[in-house]
């Protein structure tokens, strides 16, 4: 009996030790489930070969990404050792101690933030914003851009019809208003016996969709969150006449130039509408552009890309993420080793080649960079004018308030643009008062 007990205990101890050892040699990286994540899986095989650490991945679909991962961090879970989290999370993650501050590590390993595009360092890595306190390495540059059916734009009959209708040449839109004009031209048009529509844009209600879409117009009109950065004085900035005009523009774009029933659409629906040949133009994140270019039906020489057109200013909505080490990882050394490996310029070049959007200057400042993909130049241009949503610890409250106000006005036809923006200021003021910032 004693011998049996001893054997069983030894077996248990061995199993426990083996499991602990396996955990020490494993890393779990969490991210959203999308094309670049698959590219990272391939790229990480090099890291596995070099380090002997096995990589595991936890990819969550975008609509549930924030919910799932923020719950995980909040509950002190140990699912993720590394996290490529959204830029807006950084304030909360830094203040709540979810991410490891990487300054000492960067200094020790000679990783310089000067080697990365300044806009991405500001947006993805720093908290408080703009200070040299780094909680992430810029991992995936991204912005909201546009793509269109180049084959349709190049057809003589369509060009002639556009010229006749508008008196102008059909081309990539050079302004937001031109974009609207082109989208309205295509709306309901018969092309090859099929009714097509103007543009697929973001109108989603639940997570962040309509905010990410409408800010594309708001930023182009010169929208600002505050009159003075850091002061939270929003009156006159958030509801400026330009902001009102931009919001009215986005509503008109939605009402007059999108496919029927397009009232709750985000990334996936935008891609579907374009890939199924329903729309002439579509907005989406640059992250999807490699996949779109490779699409057998609408990619290749049928597609082209353009940066979010300016109106009063050139500006794009920021996407993208930095990679952070989760504070309660049980494999800190492994996680930091991954960051060190990923920061290497040679790895960054492979990352871009694999379909990821590197933020490293070794990639972006390469003279040949703009020739490496048909959207590379647009990406550079977009990243020079990106603007992001609030990155405050209370960002979720701020975001959901904007989602409700915008959807109520744009999709549900309630109130005016001015009322929506005034209401938004009231909502945000309450949040900042609760935060003790006002």
């Amino acid at each position: 009996m004693k011998r049996t007990t001893l054997a069983a205990s030894a077996a248990l101890a061995l199993a426990w030790a083996a499991q602990a050892n396996a955990q020490a040699n494993e890393l779990t990286l969490c991210w959203a489930a999308w094309d670049p994540a698959n590219a990272l899986v391939e790229l990480s095989k090099d890291f596995e070969a070099q380090s002997g650490i096995k990589m595991k991945f936890e990819f969550v679909p975008w609509p549930n990404f924030a919910d799932r991962i923020l719950n995980e961090l909040n509950s002190g879970g140990q699912l993720c050792d590394l996290l490529i989290g959204d830029s807006q999370w950084i304030g909360g993650a830094a203040e709540n101690g979810w991410y490891v501050k990487l300054n000492d590590f960067f200094d020790k390993e000679g990783i310089s933030m000067d080697d990365f595009a300044p806009a991405t360092v500001y947006a993805y890595s720093t908290w408080p914003k703009g200070t040299p306190n780094y909680y992430a390495l810029p991992a995936m540059g991204d912005a909201n851009g546009w793509f269109y059916r180049k084959d349709w734009f190049n057809r003589d009959d369509i060009k002639a019809a556009y010229k006749e209708a508008t008196g102008q040449d059909l081309r990539e839109p050079q302004s937001q208003k031109e974009l609207l004009q082109i989208a309205q031209f295509f709306q309901g048009r018969e092309i090859d016996g099929k009714t097509v529509y103007g543009a697929s844009i973001f109108t989603e209600r639940g997570s962040e969709g309509i905010t990410m879409g409408a800010t594309g117009a708001l930023y182009a009109w010169g929208f600002k969150y505050e009159n003075t950065p850091g002061s939270y004085d929003m009156e006159g900035a958030v509801n400026s006449p330009e902001a009102v005009e931009a919001l009215e523009f986005y509503k008109e774009l939605y009402k007059t130039a999108t496919p029927p029933g397009y009232d709750n659409a985000y990334m996936e629906q935008s891609l579907d509408a374009f890939k199924s040949g329903q729309v002439a133009m579509a907005m989406n994140w640059f992250a999807f552009f490699p996949g779109l270019y490779a699409d057998p039906n609408v990619g290749g020489d049928k597609i082209d890309f353009f940066v979010n057109p300016p109106q009063n200013v050139a500006a794009s909505t920021l996407g993208g993420q930095g990679i952070s080490v989760v504070a309660n990882t049980d494999n800190m050394d492994g996680a930091l080793a991954y960051i060190k490996w990923f920061a290497d310029p040679e790895v960054q070049k492979k990352w871009w080649a694999a379909g990821g959007y590197s933020c490293h200057k070794a990639v972006l400042e390469d003279p040949n960079f703009v020739n490496t993909a048909p959207f590379a130049g647009d990406f550079l241009e977009a990243m020079n004018g990106v603007q992001d949503f609030w990155q405050e610890p209370a960002y979720a409250q701020l975001l959901l308030a904007m989602q409700a106000r915008l959807h109520n006005y744009i999709v549900a036809d309630q109130g005016t643009a001015k009322e929506a923006l005034d209401g938004l200021i009231a909502d945000w003021t309450e949040v900042f008062q609760d935060e003790g910032k006002l």
Partner: protein, 314 residues
């Protein structure tokens, strides 16, 4: 033959038997009930008390480092004076009243029709109850396709009947149809449940009552109003209670269909509460919100149960 109780008593080890012999029946009863009570306290009562406590604070579950402040009745005042929340309550009431009304009317009618002997009765009953066997997630996705303006069957059918172009309106979009669309889906899914309860009620009415009414030359109409309806009423009220409580908590199906939109048109109180609690992470505020909803449901259900008991006593 040995009595099994005696056998069990004999099999009980002597030390335990000695101890048990010293216990009263009441103590033994408490010993048996204690684990359940403990679980009830741990799983239901403690979280409820904790929620009440949190509702008076500004606690945010995602901000462990922030100082928790006692805010008194501020959360309650904010909720009760928030026009948006009252609008959500109205949306919830609209959904609740119409789904229950339609389900009761259609469910009772179906039960009444099916409570006759005809060939294929069993098969028909099985077919009718199929929707309630589906997962709300499946139903939500399934109806999203049916409501799709370009490829959906619903819009196509409307075009066929009325001539209104299918892609000119959106059942889940703006234009005021969304709040009716979610009612249609819930009615489709849960009417069979009400029908089954009504069927049980109809089948519990003894035939001799109708036979006596026939002898008294009561018309079918009179029999329906003086026998069928009163005797099925307790069952019907039970169905209303179940559906009312369920639909007050409605979440999954509506989230999948509309996400609460367009705008806030289908934002039910439960969806709003989830957003406040687990997306905005306003734990203190959402605790107050949850308490208000709990008191509302509890109050309404208590009044209703009293009414139900009165009907049963008649």
């Amino acid at each position: 033959m040995t009595n099994p109780i005696e056998a069990a008593a004999r099999a009980t080890p002597a030390p335990i038997a000695r101890r048990v012999r010293g216990l009263s029946d009441r103590t033994i009863a408490w010993l048996f009930v204690a684990p359940t009570i403990f679980l009830l306290l741990a799983i239901n009562i403690f979280p409820l008390i904790w929620t009440v406590r949190l509702s008076f604070t500004n606690y945010a579950a995602n901000r462990p480092n922030r100082e928790v402040e006692w805010v008194g009745l501020r959360n309650y005042t904010r909720i009760l004076t928030d026009d948006g929340i009252w609008a959500n309550m109205q949306t919830t009431a609209h959904f609740l009243v119409w789904t229950i009304f339609l389900q009761v009317v259609i469910g009772f009618t179906l039960a009444w029709l099916i409570n006759r002997k005809f060939r294929g009765n069993d098969l028909l009953t099985t077919l009718i109850v199929l929707p309630m066997m589906l997962s709300p997630a499946v139903v939500g996705n399934f109806w999203t396709f049916l409501y799709q303006p370009q490829i959906g069957l619903v819009n196509y059918a409307v075009e066929l009947v009325t001539g209104i172009p299918a892609s000119s309106f959106s059942m889940l979009g703006p234009g005021g149809l969304a709040k009716w669309s979610i009612i249609i889906v819930d009615t489709w899914m849960w009417t069979p449940f009400v029908m089954l309860i009504c069927l049980a009620g109809l089948r519990s009415i003894p035939d001799y009552i109708y036979e006596a009414a026939e002898v008294d030359r009561a018309s079918k109409w009179r029999q329906f109003w003086t026998i069928t309806v009163p005797m099925v009423l307790p069952f019907l009220m039970l169905a209303v209670l179940f559906r009312g409580i369920e639909n007050f908590k409605m979440f999954d199906m509506v989230v999948l269909l509309t996400g609460g939109g367009p705008g806030n048109e289908t934002l039910l109180a439960s969806i709003d509460l989830k957003r406040e609690a687990f997306e905005k992470w306003r734990t203190g505020y959402s605790s107050a919100y949850a308490i208000i909803l709990f008191v509302t449901v509890f109050g309404l259900a208590s009044i209703y149960v009293k009414a139900l008991n009165k009907v049963k006593e008649r």
